[in-house]
């Protein structure tokens, strides 16, 4: 399963992005930042990778501060 993970610098940005993405009916999930991406305890937003382009466009349009969008391949979830 291919997921995108949006990493943020602040939890305020996570909340802002979550609100905007849910309002636009994207299927997203709050997860702890995967261990392979960060050692500290951040919160990230996970989505199915095929929504990548639209999500990126919306975040940029709404000027949400995010650090990166990364691809995460997960087996069996």
């Amino acid at each position: 399963m291919k997921y995108g993970v949006i990493l943020f610098n602040t939890t305020t940005s996570v909340m802002q992005a979550e609100k905007i993405l849910l309002k636009a009916d994207f299927v997203i999930k709050l997860i702890p930042t995967p261990r392979e991406f960060s050692v500290d305890c951040g919160i990230s937003i996970r989505f199915e990778w095929d929504q990548n382009v639209q999500i990126k466009a919306l975040l940029e349009k709404e000027k949400v501060n995010y650090e990166a969008i990364l691809l995460l391949v997960v087996n069996g979830i």
């Binding site: 939890t11 996570v14 909340m15 979550e18 849910l22 999930k29 709050l30 997860i31 702890p32 919160i43 979830i77």
Partner: protein, 190 residues
């Protein structure tokens, strides 16, 4: 095969003796004798929750319970019963929005963890997580389909007028909640 005579013992002694005997059992077969319906139900429920099968026979008010650790779920027989008491829709005390964010990330991580709680009890504002509008419903549904028992407090659902909006698990009462907490090996309070 070991036999435990738990007749005339007050609750929760029959369950405690059954638990100890199961842990020490070499062949995984145990007979427990009790003489009250309460002890009969408690021991049976305990054994079944541990993933064991139970054959029960009653004669003149004396119950003979034959308990087998089943082949299909041997690991469950040894797993400690962890009960998670979720008494809030937030993780920790502080900024409300942060607390809600943290509990979502927490519950979304549980289906991927190596071990699972036996039960999750949602109390007070915790029921916001099991009802319509919760952002962790799919994770809770996944946990439930993996055998985690999910219960929401009926009084709390009524109080917040959410009884019709329950989306995952069952409704429970304070008796079962107290029972679950007292019979747990480990309680995690959120």
């Amino acid at each position: 095969m070991e036999t435990i005579d738990a007749r005339d013992l007050a609750c929760p002694e029959p369950v405690i003796r059954t638990k100890k005997a199961l842990e020490n059992s070499k062949d995984g077969i145990l007979t427990v004798i009790v003489n009250s319906t309460e002890a009969n139900e408690n021991v049976q429920r305990f054994a079944k929750n541990q993933g064991c099968s139970v054959k029960a026979a009653e004669k003149n008010g004396v119950f003979t319970l034959e308990i087998h650790k089943t082949g299909q779920a041997p690991e469950m027989c040894q797993t400690k019963a962890v009960v998670m008491l979720i008494a809030s829709d937030q993780l920790g005390v502080g900024d409300e929005a942060l607390g809600q964010l943290l509990i979502a990330a927490f519950i979304n991580t549980l289906p991927e963890a190596k071990t699972r709680p036996a039960k999750m009890l949602f109390i007070n504002r915790g029921v916001m997580l099991t009802t319509e509008g919760s952002r962790v419903l799919d994770s809770l549904q996944k946990l439930e389909s993996n055998g985690v028992q999910i219960f929401s407090c009926g009084t709390c659902l009524n109080h917040y007028q959410l009884k019709e909006k329950l989306k995952v698990g069952k409704v429970t009462n304070m008796y079962d909640t107290v029972d679950s907490l007292l019979n747990a090996d480990n309680v995690i309070r959120i």
